[in-house]
């Protein structure tokens, strides 16, 4: 795999290509997601890219009824809330992401610990943002 800089630009490029990429420190092996230029564990500056499997469990979530302007522009508001959450990935790192395939209007029905799977939508509607999506895993 080509070596791209270990920064947010590369992270977003990979997302756009349907790849969930973490950095792994060559010195101490610490896995970082999103990727890091400098290892937080040993301050090492040499890393390699590692593709994550994209599965994990829902650790926290919320249904957003009062949305910022860019989400309002996508049609979200008090009548159409959306869900965001934290997913604990199988590799031991965490992701913050939009959560789809759940009932945003009945958030009490969503369960912490639900198996989740990364989801790359065809298009990221409307605005220039690189979305990371997860949805409940299909059994």
């Amino acid at each position: 795999m080509e070596i791209r800089p270990f920064n947010d630009t590369s992270y977003k490029q990979f997302l756009g290509e349907g790849l969930l990429m973490a950095s792994q420190c060559k010195k101490c092996g610490t896995l970082s997601f999103p990727p890091r230029q400098i290892c937080a564990n040993c301050y090492g500056s040499e890393s390699e890219w590692v593709e994550l499997a994209g599965s994990g469990r829902l650790a926290a979530y919320t249904s957003v009824y009062v949305a910022p302007p860019d989400m309002v522009a996508q049609g979200y508001n008090r009548e159409h809330p959306y869900v965001v959450g934290v997913v604990d990935l199988d590799e031991g790192v965490r992701a913050v992401a939009r959560i789809v395939g759940v009932d945003a209007k009945n958030p009490e029905t969503i369960e912490i610990g639900t198996s989740m799977r990364v989801h790359f939508p065809e298009i990221c509607e409307g605005v220039e943002r690189h979305c990371l999506f997860f949805a409940p895993a299909e059994d």
Partner: protein
């Protein structure tokens, strides 16, 4: 690894001898100069033996983002000119909602270092000129880029934190009602509060409004029933509802700091800085524990160590209740109650004004208001007033009230501070 000559303490003592706070609320037809002038004039009046403003050598000013909220940046010289400080230095500090505690800490260190003897610290913010959606965006900018990209807002970060807390300790949204009811019970006694009303006052006001309009008059069994009713308490970022969230506010606050050896020239009742800590942490994805703020834990450890105190020594505290869930976690992170017990302590009334550990006697950010850049020094002012017995109807009535604290959180927990004040 670490090479240090000595561990964090103040090279000389620092006292708070005055303070002021503007009335908090939404004031579109005024601006931050008005708010700071109001706070500054009150501060001058509050100094028992008076202070000549010309003796102030420098100022530190907290401001999160008037740049975004009002389109005007660089507030240091504007405030310097306002209060006649030109050409002395005024340094702006930015730490999101903790901006003015950073100003306080810089002021303390500038005196402790011997650089200055008399320093003004404070903060300002005007948020009323933007719509709620825009303020949501403006505050969201203090989250991490990954949170923002995913669509997290500020309430959403604390909403997500709440679901993690609920799952961990087997509780639900009802625990949050106790925080809101408790803080609002203190607010009617704070003349500066944006909402000087109890939750019951809100219920009565709503009933009165319906009566006046000839509409059916709603009935609620108690405050909790009112808070369960989504027609009056709609979700913002579930499980954070309207009454879990602090309001959008305008305001200014300031404190006068002097070197310990000068304190007696200003007052017979100086309040000393016993300990102060500041920390950073990162966003949700990098947290080891979703139900704790690493920056708070670090800041508190520093402050306790500097003061030679433990959480048991703190007799009351302001904590950063930007959202009801946050207050419960701070109670645990600051060591006031064990992990998983903050909700129970609140439910049992231990944090009420007449409880053993009064929290947010000012009404907290929820009821007093949260002009973000002004909040930190407003919180410390509350502790100062309490320790001097000047808090009126919300005065903590413990015998020998000597030690109080203030916790301030910026962003989604990225910057946190803890400050311990002491009356000797």
């Amino acid at each position: 690894m670490s090479i240090r000559a000595r561990k964090g303490g103040l090279a000389r003592g620092v006292a708070v001898v005055g303070g002021g706070l503007s009335k908090l609320g939404l004031f579109k037809d005024r601006d931050c100069k008005d708010f700071f002038a109001e706070a500054f004039l009150e501060m001058l009046d509050s100094v028992d033996r008076g202070v000549d403003p010309g003796d102030i050598e420098a100022a530190y000013l907290g401001n999160y983002s008037n740049d975004f909220f009002t389109g005007q940046a660089h507030w240091g010289p504007i405030i310097s000119d306002l209060i006649g400080l030109v050409p002395k230095p005024v340094t702006r500090t930015e730490g999101a909602c903790a901006a003015s505690t950073l100003a306080f800490r810089e002021g303390v260190m500038s005196i402790a270092s011997g650089m200055y003897d008399i320093v003004l610290v404070g903060g300002v913010e005007q948020m009323s000129r933007r719509t709620t959606d825009e303020v949501t965006q403006g505050l969201g900018m203090a989250g991490s880029p990954y949170e923002v990209a995913a669509g997290f807002t500020f309430p959403a970060v604390f909403g997500a934190t709440a679901t993690a807390y609920f799952a961990k300790y087997g509780v639900d949204r009802e625990i949050l009602f106790n925080v809101t009811i408790k803080s609002h019970n203190n607010a009617p006694f704070n003349p500066k509060a944006q909402f000087p009303m109890s939750v019951r006052d809100f219920m009565n006001a709503r009933m009165e409004k319906c009566r006046a309009k000839g509409l059916p008059i709603p009935e609620w069994e108690d405050e909790k029933a009112f808070l369960r009713d989504t027609s009056v308490n709609p979700p913002v970022a579930w499980p954070m509802h309207l009454f879990d969230c602090c309001p959008i506010s305008d305001g200014g606050s300031c404190l006068l700091l002097v070197a310990e050896e000068l304190a007696g020239s200003f007052t017979d009742a100086p309040i000393f800085v016993a300990g102060i800590g500041q920390g950073t942490s990162y966003s949700l994805h990098a947290k080891k524990d979703l139900t704790s703020y690493e920056a708070t834990v670090y800041a508190a450890k520093q402050a306790y160590q500097m003061a030679g105190m433990t959480p048991k020594d703190i007799q009351f505290s302001e904590v950063h209740d930007c959202f009801s869930m946050a207050e419960i976690i701070h109670l645990e992170d600051l060591g006031f109650f064990p992990p998983g017990e903050g909700w129970r302590a609140t439910a049992e009334g231990l944090t009420a004004l007449d409880g053993p550990m009064p929290i947010n006697t000012s009404g907290g950010l929820k009821a007093k208001g949260h002009p973000v850049g002004a909040t930190g020094t407003a919180q410390i002012l509350e502790v100062w007033l309490q320790l001097r017995g000047m808090a009126g109807g919300r005065q903590v009535k413990k015998p020998d009230l000597r030690i109080g604290a203030s916790h301030n959180l910026g962003g989604t927990g990225g910057t946190c501070t803890f400050t311990i004040l002491e009356r000797r």
